[in-house]
Structure formats: C-alpha cells, structure tokens
C-alpha cells in the first residue's frame, strides 16, 4: 500500500499543467489530438481555450445553430481526449483579422496566468499555406501571451485580481501539414524551436474518436467534397451516400493519413509533428 501511495505521489509530482490554445474546432484535434490524449493519460491536467465560435463551417445550418452545436461537439471531443476544462472566447470564425491582436493576446494572457501551465500547445503562426488565417492570428496572440505572462508590467489589473506573473517552460507549435517546407531548418538555430515528432500509436484511437465527435464540421467537409466532385462530373464511391457511417469512415481515413504523414522518416508509424521550444530554448542568462 505504501509503495502504491509513493508511486502515486511520484506520478502526481511529475504531472504537468497543459494549456492548449486553438483557433477552431478541428485544428487542435487533427494537429495535436494524439499528443494531448497521451499527456492527459499520463496524468497531466489539460485545459483548452478555443478562440472562435466556429459559426461558419456547416451544411444547411445557420451561423447561430452551427456555433451552438460545435460548442457541444468540442466539449465532447475534449472529454474523449481527457481535457479537464474548455473555455471559449467566442469570436466569430473567420473574423480574427478584424480584431485587435492585443485584445486577443490579453484575453489569452488572462488564461495563462489563471491556469499557470507548464506547457502550452499553440497554432504555429509561421506555418505557410494554412488557409484558415484565424490560426495565424491565434498563434501570434498565443505566442505573445506566453512571453508577456512573465512580465509584471503587462496588465497590472490582472495582478489586482490575484493573477500573478507566470513562466511557461515548454511550448509546442502545432499545424496540420500544409507547409511543404515545415521541416526545413530555420536560418538560425540559436533560439529557433526545434522539430519534434511525437509517437501517437497508443492514443490514435482517442484522437480518432475525438475527431469523429466533431460531426458538424465533418458532415460539412463530406458534403463540400461531394459538391465539388458533382460539379466537376466526378463521384467518390464512399460519399455516394453521405451518412453517419460514411462520414466517420472519411474522418478515419483523414486522421490515419495525417498521422502517417507526420511519422514519415521518424521511425514511428503514427505520429504528430511540432516545433518545440523546451526549457533549453530559454534565452541564455548572459543574454537576458
């Protein structure tokens, strides 16, 4: 019994707090869902902040109905991945370009100081050919929030509310593999985040179920593929009938292939790839 308690204490002592920031519902699941599930399964406490309300991407649903449904679906997906809390900032999807970057940053800063994460996972704002620019704006704001969380002169009212400064030790930049040059080294290695591939073989099933929980965007994706094929005189046998079964299969093909793309040349079979700034990435003392 004593041994078990000691083991539990050891696990708890190593457990981290993880803050995941996402612009939209599918991105954090498709780009980082397996890693998040593994972290949660190992005892880490994971908190999710979604920046937009995902009100645009659906099929035959109003924006209001879409936002409402996707909120529930994200919460279901988060539960599958083992995420403890979901917070939504509620910005309208596709419109972050019109929002003050400082406003988004400071709202994320609030959560950094509230949650006090050891680790943050954020969209990579430098990834190219990511057509959803909300991901770029969110990544920029989150990167800044992580940096200024340690500086007391940012948002003094937060300190009045008991939200002290905080240093986030580890940072993962995530993105789906749109960028053909995502594995190229940066021009300088001094402070550049390093590529990191994470094995997700043991958590793929959870990632798949979480992705399948996003039924509104998945159905929209399937219908838009079929529409494009229809308009160009083609068909996809899988989508001759678009129903729950065919959409789930389409999502499975997508999730498995993404994991194979990320695993390429890594020695793993199924993976997710990040740019990672760990404790060693911190600015050396002589340069602070």
């Amino acid at each position: 019994m004593k041994v078990l308690i000691l083991l539990l204490c050891a696990v708890l002592a190593q457990a981290k707090t993880v803050l995941v920031v996402t612009a939209d519902a599918p991105d954090f699941v498709l780009a980082a869902g397996g890693t998040i599930a593994s972290m949660a399964a190992s005892g880490d406490r994971v908190v999710l902040v979604r920046v937009t309300n995902d009100d645009k991407d659906s099929w035959n649903l109003s924006a209001e109905e879409t936002a409402s449904r996707v909120k529930e679906e994200v919460e279901r997906a988060a539960k599958v991945l083992g995420i403890a809390q979901v917070h939504s900032l509620g910005y309208r999807a596709g419109e972050l370009g019109g929002v003050s970057p400082t406003e988004i940053r400071d709202r994320l800063l609030f959560y950094v100081r509230l949650v006090k994460p050891d680790v943050m996972l954020i969209p990579n704002p430098y990834a190219e050919y990511v057509e959803v620019l909300d991901r770029h704006y969110t990544g920029m704001a989150a990167e800044e929030a992580r940096r200024i969380a340690a500086l007391e002169n940012h948002q003094p009212p937060f300190a009045q509310a008991g939200l002290a400064t905080h240093v986030v030790k580890e940072l993962y930049y995530y993105a789906q593999p749109f960028d053909p040059r995502r594995r190229e080294a940066e021009s300088t290695a001094t402070f550049a985040p390093q590529p990191k591939v994470v094995d997700i073989a043991s958590s793929l099933e959870k990632k798949l179920r979480a992705s399948q929980a996003l039924t509104t965007v998945n159905y929209s994706m399937a219908m838009r593929i079929r529409k494009r094929l229809d308009e160009s005189g083609r068909r996809l046998p899988l989508l001759d009938v678009v129903n729950e079964e065919s959409v789930r299969k389409l999502v499975e093909i997508n999730v498995r292939k993404l994991a194979e793309i990320a695993a390429k040349d890594s020695g793993y079979k199924l993976a997710e790839e990040f740019l990672y700034a760990g404790p060693d990435y911190q600015v050396p003392a002589k340069l602070r």
Partner: protein, 281 residues
C-alpha cells in the same frame, strides 16, 4: 590534378544548385473562367506577373477578369490623373492578353495597411460568387519581405476569400441576392523571386512565342509608368529575359513560375485518397 578536382567539384556544386532550382512543368488547369485579383493596374504584366499564362488561358477558351484593388493614384507622372490614366491603360493591357474586363475597386493606393481586411475580402467573396472562377491568380499570402503594403494586404484577403466564398454562413446576404457559395478549386500565387525564401514556386507554366508577344504588348501598355521603350530590343528584352530564365527552370523556352494550390490541398490527410478514388460519373 588539383585544377581538375576543383573543376569537378564546381560542376557538382553547380549541378546540385541547378537541380534545387528546377520547377516541374504544370498542366493546364481544368475549367473556363479565371479571376486575377491583384493590387495595381500593372501587377499582372510585369516580370513577376502572369502575362504569358493569362494569354495562354484565353487562347484556350478561358474567360478572364482582372480585379484592380487600388486606384493607383501614386503610380505615374501626375498624382491627379494617375487613377484614370492607369485604369485606361490597364484595360488596354488586359484586352491585349484576351481578358474580358477590369473590375476596379478603387481602394486608396499604398494605404491598404489601414484598411480592414474583412471589407476587401467581402468584395472579393462577392466577385468570386458572381463569376465562379475555376482558378484565381494573386500575390502569395505567405510571401516574405514584400515591402508593398497593397501587395501584402491584397494577398491576405485573397487567401481567405478563395475558400470562405464557399461557406454559406459567410456573407449570407449574398445568397439573398441569388449568389451561391463557391470555393475556388485552384489558386496560382506569385511573388517577387528576389524577396527572400518566403515564396518557392512549385510549378512552371509554359507559353509560346505568340503569347510572349501579347505579354510584351500588355507590359508596355502601361505607358504612364513605363514610358516608351528605347528600342525594339529593349521592348522585347524586358519581358523575354525573365520568361527565358523561368523557362530554364522547367526545361522549356518561355515560362512563368507560381505556387499552385490544388483542389484538395486544403485536406492534406485526404488529398491522396481523393486523387486515387474520385472517378468520372
């Protein structure tokens, strides 16, 4: 022996550099309508533009429209009349390439940094829904070091408009006017090739001598900013030289190089599956 060794090494290095600089030759896209959405009256025709490719498309039966986003008031000899003169010459230039017309949005030249992107994007979305292009050409939204604010902002707005135009919940007021959602399946991005590594072309589009001549004509149609060529050699050389250079990268006589986004590139996990399993009805 040392000289031979150095020569061999130099040749090897040169061949590696050349190999790294090659760009695959692209096939003509499928479709019939294109929109060229750029910042200025002359962006479509200069050495980083699309002139040869546009001429080839129209010769192959495509219908094209040129969207000039700014009013070009800064570009030319006299601030006052620049807007109208540049528009007139832009119409002349696109007609030389076989395009149907210029749609001028008249945003203030070199002031795009202060414009809400959503407002510009809304105009592009409306035009995409109206003309339902099979291909769009613009500046690369991920290009680096472009110091022209109009280029950067137009690129960003186009980068979102091409896919957001396909979503019913984006500007639903358009649907009330009878316009239907339309996602642009293929996009060609260009960018100055001497502005850092932000834009690496992934495709070269070949064109022929007749299309080069149209590109030259369109380029020099912008007399307000280009004046008159000093000689026939200069007139041809300005557009021939970059076309030949781009052609070398693909092993053809004349070409232009772009970053092409294909119809399923937005679904990297499904791209191969769709390419392999979609079939004719």
């Amino acid at each position: 022996m040392g000289k031979v060794y150095h020569a061999v090494v130099a040749l090897l290095v040169a061949s590696v550099c050349f190999a790294a600089d090659t760009v695959p030759l692209g096939q003509m896209p499928k479709g019939k309508t294109f929109l060229v959405i750029l910042s200025h009256h002359d962006d479509h025709t200069w050495e980083w533009g699309f002139g040869g490719f546009l001429a080839r498309l129209t010769e192959n039966g495509w219908t094209g429209y040129y969207v000039r986003t700014t009013n070009d008031e800064k570009d030319g000899r006299e601030w006052g009349p620049n807007d109208q003169v540049n528009l007139k010459e832009s119409i002349e230039a696109v007609k030389a390439l076989g395009l149907k017309d210029v749609i001028s949005l008249n945003w203030r030249n070199d002031h795009m940094s202060s414009v809400q992107l959503k407002e510009v994007r809304a105009q592009y979305i409306l035009l995409i829904r109206k003309y339902r292009p099979d291909a769009v050409m613009s500046w690369n939204p991920w290009g680096h070091y472009d110091r022209n604010p109009d280029h950067r902002r137009v690129a960003r707005a186009v980068g979102e408009a091409v896919w957001m135009a396909g979503l019913e919940n984006v500007h639903p007021e358009h649907l009330a006017a009878g316009l239907k959602p339309h996602r642009v399946p293929v996009v060609y991005y260009s960018q100055r090739g001497d502005y850092g590594k932000g834009h690496s072309p992934n495709i070269a589009m070949e064109f022929n001598e007749a299309q080069l001549l149209k590109k030259i004509e369109a380029y020099w149609a912008h007399r307000n900013v280009r004046g008159v060529a000093a000689s026939a050699e200069v007139k041809r050389g300005e557009m021939e030289a970059p076309s030949v250079e781009a052609g070398k990268r693909a092993g053809v006589k004349y070409a232009e190089v772009f970053y092409r986004l294909e119809e399923w590139d937005y679904l990297p996990g499904l791209r191969d599956y769709l390419a392999e399993n979609a079939r004719a009805k």
